[in-house]
């Protein structure tokens, strides 16, 4: 597995954990009748901030950790150059495209729930969920492209 693939795998696992946390909390709120705007807004805030932290800081931390692991494994002072070449950029672009398509479908679904008389909370919850699922689907498509080629 290349550095890029490891980085995407870490991102994927983090996004999966976030979505599980979100769904579990949302389900609990619904079961206990606590699906009120203040609680749901704070849950959204946690999810959005976590996703931003994962996307930005996660990449930096992964780079540092992989450098350390590589140095320990090879016992070398040579610093591995983790460059992003044309293939990495192309796969990144294709992954982004898949993410946007998935997110767009999620937006459409959330609008439909509102159009069919569901409360705005449901629409916005679905919106947040589709944004994270879009990231997950984008990560999976990138890993697939790295393995199978194109």
């Amino acid at each position: 597995m290349s550095y890029q693939e490891k980085s995407i795998a870490v991102s994927l696992v983090s996004h999966l954990l976030i979505v599980v946390y979100y769904l579990v909390n949302l389900f609990e709120m619904q079961q206990t009748g606590g699906l009120v705007s203040t609680k749901v807004f704070s849950l959204w805030a946690i999810v959005i901030v976590s996703t931003i932290i994962v996307n930005i800081i996660g990449n930096i931390l992964t780079n540092i950790l992989l450098s350390i692991v590589h140095a320990i494994k090879t016992r070398s002072e040579h610093v591995e150059k983790f460059i992003e070449d044309e293939r990495d950029k192309l796969i990144g672009l294709k992954g982004s495209k898949v993410s946007y398509i998935a997110f767009s479908l999620g937006v459409l679904a959330s609008m439909l729930t509102f159009a069919f008389g569901q409360p705005p909370l449901v629409m916005f919850s679905l919106l947040i969920l589709s944004s994270i699922l879009g990231e997950i689907i984008g990560d999976i498509s990138q890993l697939y492209l790295y393995q199978k080629g194109f």
Binding site: S2, Y3, Q4, I83, D85, E86, R87, K148, G149, F150
Partner: protein
């Protein structure tokens, strides 16, 4: 419609060119070793610029490194 595929002789040329490693070739052309592996395995067709850089490293014309052939027409 007939399906064509980009094929290459990168692995063979590497062995004939002082047996340079994938890592050394990657460094010379400015990509990662994984990209060279993907090119050799037919999983990635490089850009024109990268294809020319690889041909330049081996000192051969482009068509000796890469070819565009019908799928199933393997030599």
């Amino acid at each position: 419609m007939d399906k064509y595929k980009v094929r290459n002789n990168v692995r063979k040329l590497r062995f004939n060119h002082d047996e340079i490693t994938q890592e050394q070739l990657a460094e010379k052309v400015g990509v990662t070793r994984q990209t060279i592996i993907a090119i050799e395995g037919g999983k990635y067709a490089p850009s024109l610029e990268l294809a020319f850089k690889i041909a330049l490293v081996f000192g051969v014309p482009l068509q000796e490194v890469f070819s565009y052939e019908l799928e199933g027409n393997e030599k």
